[in-house]
């Protein structure tokens, strides 16, 4: 189960607490990075449903003016997207381990 | 449109075994649809089986009867070729009936 350890760590890091109140600029930057990562994951045809829903939550929070929550959600979406990209890359070979031979 | 009632009545000696499957949503009225609105109760209340002019079996159903309900029972006093009339009415007043030959 070596592989799932890095996944869990990636997720935990993504939820690191915020230092000061985020403003709209922070949110826009975080959202853009998250959206890019999400597009990359979709391109690999390995998108996670939670990435999509967290990204949507970020946007919703931002529309409501709550940039703290919006930025945190965007960061989490980025972490999820990156984890799914990592999963796609590692599974390129890892699947063979489970194959019935 | 094909009847909503599928029935199989087979006679074996003096005993006729009856199985019926009815196409009906049997909505309980306690379930919400995807938009969050309650789906109104819509279920068969009475199902009647008549043979040779006599009610041989009557079912009173509530909302806890499964969707596309099924029932099986047997009765005596009928023979191959007799007609078995099946009819149901639901809480919205809708109904359907069909007649099957005992095979």
């Amino acid at each position: 189960m070596k592989r799932s350890l890095p996944l869990a760590m990636l997720l935990a890091l993504g939820l690191a607490s915020a230092a000061r109140a985020a403003n709209e600029a922070d949110y826009k930057a975080a959202y853009a990075t998250a959206e890019a990562a999400s597009k990359e994951a979709a391109g690999l045809r390995n998108q996670w449903t939670v990435t999509v829903s967290t990204l949507a939550a970020a946007k919703k929070a931002a529309d409501g003016g709550d940039f703290d929550r919006a930025t945190a959600a965007a960061r989490e979406a980025e972490a999820l997207a990156k984890a799914s990209i990592f999963q796609a890359a590692s599974e390129k070979e890892a699947w063979k381990a489970m194959e019935i031979r | 449109m094909a009847s909503s009632i599928r029935v199989r009545a087979t006679s074996n000696g003096d005993i006729t075994e009856v199985q019926a499957l009815i196409q009906h949503p049997m909505d309980t009225g306690l379930v919400k649809d995807s938009k969050g609105e309650l789906i109104p109760a819509h279920f068969i209340q009475e199902l009647k089986f008549e043979c040779n002019g006599k009610d041989v079996f009557v079912a009173d159903w509530g909302t806890a009867v499964s969707k596309d309900p099924y029932v099986k029972f047997s009765f005596k006093g009928a023979k191959k070729g007799d007609d078995l009339k099946i009819s149901w009415t639901d809480n919205k007043g809708a109904s359907d009936t069909t007649t099957a030959k005992i095979s």
Binding site: - | E17, T28, F57, A59, D60, V65, S66, K76
Partner: protein, 163 residues
Amino acid sequence: MTTTTGALATRRLILQGAASVALLGLGNLPFAAAPARAAANDKYPEEAFKQKHEADAIKALYGKTAEPSDKVKLDAPEIAENGGVVPVSVTTTLDKVSSISFFVTENPYALAASYKFADGTIPGVANRLKMAKTTKLVAIVEADGKLYSATKEVKVTVGGCGG
């Protein structure tokens, strides 16, 4: 056995054979020319179906209480594969049966189904019921004016009411 070849009919026949044999055993009950039995009242028992609890529903339906009897055979799964479609059946060796009813105690409304039997109709019924969660299932048989019951617990892992 459901994967036998052949058309719809043959598969059905094989299954029927098994089913009718099971019920046949009941056929040879001594059936005296029973007097017109006190069938539960004929119209739809609206009140009984509204009761939440099983005891109230039985009182509303029959107006009396039941005593457990091993002559009432209640067949239901130990763990329902799906709470929405639980195959349940009752057979009984009691005589002069006028009504059989099923109560699912943990459902919003206890009374699930009630069946009225004419003379000559064999006292047994199989049906498929919904069960909200793990529950006691009570079958009541009205025979010669008295009530007999059997109870079984059915574990339900997935609530049968959808939504």
